[in-house]
C-alpha cells in the first residue's frame, strides 16, 4: 500500500462515478478517433466512386486520405487508453500527469496531421503541385498556420495547467494526510 502511494499508482476503484466517467470518456474518444475513421475507411473502400476519387486525390495531389485515417485510428486508440487511465487515477499521481501530457500531445499530433494533410512538420501549410496531364501543372497552397500555432499554444498551456493541477493536488493531499496523521496521533 505504501509503495503504491509512493509511486503514485493509486487507482480510484472505490469511486464508481469516477470510473463511469473514465469509461464513458474512453468510449467517446474511441468512437470519435477509432471507430469513426475505421467506418469511413471501410465505407470509402466499399464505394467505387469514393475510392476512385481518393485514388485521384492521392495520385494528383499526393494526399493519402486512407493513410491519414489509419494513423488517426492508431493515435486515437492511444489517446483513448491515456484518457481511460487518467480518469481512473487521482490528480496527484504521476501516472495521471503522464497520461494527461501524453493525451494532450497525441491530440495535438492528430490535429497537426489533419491540418498538414498527412505532414505533421508542415504546421498547417498544405502546398502541392497537382500532377495532371498537360504542359504545365496547377499548384495550390492552403495556409492554416494560425490554427496550427493556436493548437500548439493551447496544448502547451494545457500541459502547464496539468502540472499546476498536479502540484496543487499533491499539496492538498499532503495537507490532508498530515491532518489524518495528526488526528490518529491525537486519538
Amino acid at each position: 500500500m505504501a509503495s503504491i502511494l509512493k509511486t503514485g499508482l493509486w487507482f480510484v476503484t472505490h469511486n464508481p462515478i469516477k470510473i463511469l466517467k473514465a469509461v464513458l470518456s474512453f468510449f467517446l474518444y474511441a468512437l470519435l478517433l477509432v471507430v469513426l475513421p475505421w467506418a469511413l475507411i471501410n465505407w470509402a473502400q466499399g464505394n467505387p466512386q469514393i475510392s476512385g476519387m481518393l485514388d485521384m486525390v492521392r495520385s494528383t495531389a499526393g494526399i493519402d486520405v486512407i493513410s491519414i485515417a489509419t494513423t488517426i485510428m492508431i493515435l486515437g486508440l492511444l489517446v483513448s487508453v491515456a484518457v481511460l487511465i487518467k480518469g481512473l487515477t487521482d490528480r496527484w499521481s504521476v501516472l495521471n500527469l503522464s497520461c494527461e501530457v501524453a493525451s494532450t500531445l497525441l491530440h495535438l499530433t492528430i490535429v497537426l496531421l489533419v491540418l498538414g494533410a498527412g505532414e505533421i512538420g508542415s504546421l498547417g501549410v498544405i502546398s502541392r503541385t497537382l500532377q495532371v496531364s498537360g504542359p504545365s501543372q496547377p499548384s495550390f497552397m492552403l495556409d492554416m498556420r494560425f490554427a496550427a500555432l493556436a493548437f500548439v499554444a493551447i496544448a502547451g498551456l494545457n500541459i502547464v495547467l496539468a502540472f499546476a493541477r498536479f502540484y496543487q493536488a499533491r499539496s492538498e493531499r499532503k495537507r490532508s494526510i498530515g491532518g489524518i496523521v495528526q488526528n490518529l496521533l491525537h486519538l
Binding site: 504545365s136 496547377p138 495550390f140 492552403l142 495556409d143 494560425f146 490554427a147 495547467l161 496543487q168 495528526q182
Partner: protein
Amino acid sequence: MRRSFAGLYIIAINQRPGLKTGTILQMLGYLLIVAEVAVIVGMGLAYYTVIQSAASTLGSDGGSPLAFNGNMDPSTGAFNGTLSVALKNAGMLDMAVSVDVKMLSEQGSQLYETSGQKRLAPGSLGTIEMPVNLSGSIGQQVHTVILGLKITTLFDLMSFSVDVPIPAGIGGGGE
C-alpha cells in the same frame, strides 16, 4: 495544549486554503476548452469560405475565369484593354482576394504581369479588372497565362492560393 494545536490544524484543513487555486485552475481549463472550440469554429468557417469562393471563381461554368475586353491594333498587333475576373464570396466571412496574371513565353520566361485586389463581404459579387497593355512583339510570344488567385480570410489569418496555367488560346491572354 497539544489538543488545541491539533484542533487548529484540523480547522485549517477544513477551510481548504488550496480551494481558491483549484478554482482558478479549473476556470483556466474551461477557458482553454473555449479557446480550442473558438479556433475550430473559426477554422471551419474560414475553410468553408475559402474553398467555396475559390470553386465558384475558378470552376463555376467550366470555362476560363479570365475575360479580356479590349482591342488590338492591326498595324502593330498591340493589345490594349482590361483583363477581368468575376469573383463571388460564397462563404460566411469577409475575404480579401488578390489576382495576379502572368504571361509566359514558350520557354517559361515572364513577358508581362498585371494584378489587382478586392475585399468582398459574405455573399457579395465583385470583379477585379486589370489593365493590359501589350506591345505586338510581346503579344505574339505569349504561350501560357498563369492565373494566380489568393484568398485570405479570418482577419487575414488563413489563406488559400492557387496558380492555374491557362493556354493562351483559351484564356484570352494572347489571341
